[in-house]
């Protein structure tokens, strides 16, 4: 294969990093080189949400994002959420409501829930379903996921009010 690799610089979970990246490499595989496995490829077609990460604050499917395109941008993964050692309120709510079984889809749901609650701190069930419709869970922990989002929303509002 021709050498299509290029040096890129980007911000990864708040830290500046560089990497040598081939043109065909996708963002999930790039993150694996940094030992970050929370975003993971499942369908590989932008249909399941297992590979959800934020690029410049926007949720994208890592499996459909070419790694070279994050040059100069900021990438945030699920691993950023507990960097201080404490779980985020969304993560804690997922545990308390038992909102997963195998856990393979969980980082994607957790990331999307953070985005949802940023945009809409008080979503009703319909809004939750609409926002998370792009994420699949084959274990079908959907009832618990909806409850977890509601619990996280309530706790975050209470924390804000205090």
């Amino acid at each position: 294969m021709d050498d299509t690799s290029r040096q890129i610089r980007f911000t990864l979970n708040g830290r500046p990093v560089t990497a040598r990246v081939e043109s065909h490499l996708d963002l999930v595989d790039l993150l694996r080189r940094f030992d970050l496995f929370g975003a993971r490829e499942s369908c590989g077609q932008g249909l399941c949400g297992c590979c959800t990460v934020l690029v410049d604050g926007v949720a994208v499917s890592g499996c459909l994002t070419l790694a070279q395109l994050v040059d100069g941008r900021s990438v945030t993964t699920v691993e950023s959420l507990d960097e201080g050692g404490a779980l985020s309120p969304v993560q804690q709510a997922f545990i308390d409501e038992g909102a997963f079984q195998c856990g393979f889809c969980t980082p994607g749901f957790v990331m999307m829930t953070h985005e949802l609650l940023k945009e809409n701190p008080d979503p009703d069930e319909a809004a939750i379903r609409d926002y998370l419709a792009g994420n699949l869970c084959r274990c079908a922990a959907y009832p618990e996921i909806i409850r977890a989002v509601q619990t996280a929303a309530t706790r975050m509002k209470t924390a804000q009010a205090a």
Binding site: M1, R40, G98
Partner: protein, 757 residues
């Protein structure tokens, strides 16, 4: 004396959060998916494009010429490592890579190895193969008489005595013909008031675990380590050792968390291939399937079920069942599905005269194996649709008709095994009560018609199977549990730790569960068929009791009076003068079992326990589009005493929702043997919008007396009733009967149109 009870019991029955919860929500849980080892080669599989054919030639030269390709391997190369490279749990029929013949589209024919997975993927496209095409057979009923023969000769594995009679049988697609005969069915039919006969069909579907199947083999010095997303590490080790002609102890199988399994990752899948490749090239080799490739690897049996019943005075007096299982090109565990599920085909009803014929068929489709329910959902679909149709014809309320015929505690099931700790009635009555069945029901208006339906089913546990567990208590009193049960999301780690906690009187959260590693963890038959809670649960309890007994003995030997408040830590200290030592408790469990008489299929002890599940639904049908909306779903099960009620509830809704997908839309579609929708773009699985507006899950009050702390398995039970409950509700709403799954809007709409003429 009870030195081990510093904590009150009460570990069992508590909704302990999953032990690995934190790893999972932070994205840090270990999956084989993540694993990379130094020197590792990636692989990509070249697959057959024809459903049935002789391999004339394979040209790998262009692929080999691609820069970065390490090697290309075909079936003949595999023979250098394993001269007889055929594997499988029931039949040794599946070649590691195709030899001589291909039997389904997607069958692995060659493999490219490269350091860069993208190079392997590019090079694999340059391989070409020529086939002499043979006539294929795809339908399970046609396969019985078809001229097309998938395997020239049957090769049962020899591990199962009841498959012995098949050895060497030629020119047939019938991989197993199981039969059961009880009473006199013909006489019952002759004496009946009415006889009813129907045929029901189910479609082929796929498990689609979100972590696609993946295995990694690392060759060592006269040894081999396989990291694999497998539900059956012990079986993988035994089967790989058999293929290589090695003793078991040279093969090590390691399994971390699984990103879902549902039966897809059972027995042996990619492991034989990576093992052979690693030994061939003397480097670690990893094979990760894509979502698409999973559809070519394993699936759920399509089936045809002909069911005929005689009724006299409102009682079912006789039932004949003929079930055809579409096993695809390789047997996998299909013959066990055919038999072990086959004998429950008459349903949870008290019927004196029963005849069952259950056939495992080879066809030229991708193989079918176990999928959450092991054939039971296909059977319940048929017998509970049939039950409803009979009740309608006789103008008896379907619940009343079930009550009249239900298999009560102590009565014999078709095999002759008496029902014990099987709360069938309680499950039915629970659903009936919660649905307010006797109250008037809003039937909708205009184009939106409402209906409701109920269905119940049951399953026997696969038997006889063994589990072994080890509990290790360390010098500071902390402990670990060693077991080869695989936690693929069902929560077994947590439930098993609860059993240790309860037995030793310690907090569940303080028990560490050591994941399967056959160098370290003892034998377990496999994580399948909802067997772990009962079998492994009993083994774990025995292991913990064994540890407790030794601690009690240690206390006695140290001269401590009974009832003394010494914890294990203090005992070790007193004994060794410092923090040192271990107590190792071992537990091994195999239930009693009597194999069925080969001629009649009868046995008075065919299963150690029964699983019961049922579902009721209220639905709305849009008569203008055929669209079915589930307004309410009520699931109830008998799982004995739940070890962890919250995890059980998640299992119930998870199972029911998975079956909802199989019922309403999931379907592997074909064009001349080629799956045409092997991707989430075209093969839809349930998403969050498919969740019914209301879903309720209930665990009925029950106890499995032979189970650990009264518990038994539950992972599949809530799948049983879903499909027929929905079909029954559609009939109730709009008066049409669908006999073929999936119940798509198109199928419903067509049936409504046909009814209108």
């Amino acid at each position: 004396m009870n030195v081990m009870r510093p904590m009150p019991a009460g570990q069992v029955g508590r909704s302990v959060p999953r032990l690995e919860a934190r790893e999972k929500v932070t994205g840090r849980a270990d999956y084989v998916h993540n694993l990379v080892v130094p020197g590792m080669l990636y692989t990509k599989v070249f697959r057959s494009t024809v459903p049935h054919g002789r391999i004339v030639s394979i040209d790998t030269s262009a692929a080999e010429a691609v820069e970065g390709v390490y090697r290309v391997v075909t079936g003949e190369d595999i023979r250098k490592v394993v001269p007889e490279p055929y594997y499988g749990p029931a039949f040794h029929d599946q070649p590691v890579l195709a030899l001589d013949k291909v039997r389904h589209v997607g069958e692995p024919v060659a493999v490219v190895l490269a350091e860069d997975p993208y190079v392997a993927a590019e090079a694999v496209q340059l391989i070409t193969a020529e086939y002499e095409e043979l006539e294929p057979v795809f339908d399970e009923v046609e396969a019985v008489t078809s001229r097309a023969v998938v395997h020239e000769v049957l090769k049962p594995a020899g591990t199962f005595p009841d498959l012995k009679h098949l050895v060497g049988r030629r020119d047939t697609n019938v991989a197993l013909d199981y039969q059961l005969r009880r009473g006199d069915v013909d006489a019952a039919f002759a004496a009946a008031d009415r006889v009813f006969e129907h045929e029901f069909r189910t479609q082929q579907t796929m498990h689609t675990p979100l972590e696609p199947m993946v295995s990694l083999a690392i060759p060592g010095h006269e040894s081999l380590t396989i990291h694999t997303a497998s539900q059956s590490p012990s079986f993988v080790r035994i089967e790989i050792a058999r293929l290589l002609g090695w003793p078991e102890n040279r093969v090590r199988v390691v399994v971390p968390h699984l990103g879902g399994g549902f039966g897809a990752k059972l027995y042996i899948k990619l492991e034989a291939l990576v093992a052979c490749l690693a030994l061939l090239v003397r480097r670690p080799v990893k094979l990760s399937l894509t979502m698409e490739e999973q559809f070519y690897t394993i699936s759920k049996h399509a089936s045809t079920f002909r069911i005929r019943s005689s009724v006299k005075d409102g009682k079912i007096t006789g039932r004949r069942c003929e079930v055809f299982w579409n096993g695809g090109a390789y047997a996998d565990i299909g013959p066990r599905v055919t038999q072990k599920s086959g004998f429950t085909a008459p349903g949870p009803y008290d019927i004196d005269n029963v005849s069952i014929d259950s056939y495992a068929l080879y066809t030229n489709r991708p193989p079918a194996g176990a999928l959450r329910g092991f054939g039971i959902p296909q059977l319940v679909w048929a017998y509970e649709s049939h039950t409803d149709l009979i009740a309608r014809e006789l103008e008896i309320d379907p619940v009343e008709f079930r009550r009249n015929n239900i298999l009560r505690e102590g009565r014999e099931q078709a095999t002759g095994t008496a029902m014990k700790d099987a709360a069938i009635e309680a499950v039915l009555e629970d659903i009936v009560a919660r649905m307010d069945w006797s109250k008037p029901f809003d039937r909708g208006t205009g184009p939106l018609r409402r209906g409701r339906g109920i269905a119940i089913g049951f399953k026997a546990s696969i038997s006889p199977t063994t589990s072994v567990a080890i509990v290790n208590v360390y010098g500071d009193g902390s402990s670990s549990l060693y077991l080869s049960t695989v936690d693929m999301g069902q929560g077994s780690d947590t439930a098993m730790a609860q059993i240790v906690g309860e037995t030793l009187g310690i907090e569940t959260e303080n028990v560490k569960v050591i994941h399967p590693d056959t160098d370290v963890t003892p034998y377990d038959m496999a994580t399948l068929g909802s067997r772990s809670t009962f079998h492994m649960g009993n083994a774990v309890k025995l292991a913990a009791q064994h540890a407790r007994d030794q601690l009690d003995a240690l206390a006695r030997s140290l001269g401590l009076p009974p009832g003394t408040n010494y914890g294990p830590k203090d005992l070790f200290k007193k004994k060794y003068g410092m923090q040192a030592g271990n107590i190792v408790g071992v537990g091994s469990y195999i239930p009693d079992y009597k194999s069925p008489d080969p001629a009649t299929g009868l046995s008075d002890n065919v299963t150690p326990f029964w699983m019961i599940g049922g579902t009721g639904v209220e639905i709305e049908v849009d008569t203008e589009t055929g669209h079915v909306r589930i307004l309410r779903m009520v699931n109830a099960v008998d799982c004995g005493r739940p070890l962890n009620p919250k995890i059980v509830e998640t299992q119930l809704s998870g199972a029911a929702l998975m079956q909802l997908g199989f019922t309403l839309f999931e379907n592997m579609e074909y064009d001349n043997g080629q799956v045409t929708n092997a991707s989430f773009a075209d093969y839809k699985i349930p998403g969050i919008h498919d969740l019914p507006a209301r879903i309720e899950n209930d665990i009925v009050e029950a106890e499995q007396k032979s189970g650990p702390y009264g518990a038994k398995g539950v992972g599949e039970s809530a799948t049983f009733g879903v499909s027929p409950a929905i079909a029954n509700a559609i009939h109730d709403a709009v008066g049409v009967r669908l006999t073929e799954m999936p119940l798509t809007p198109e199928a419903v709409f067509r049936a409504i149109r046909a009814q209108k003429g």
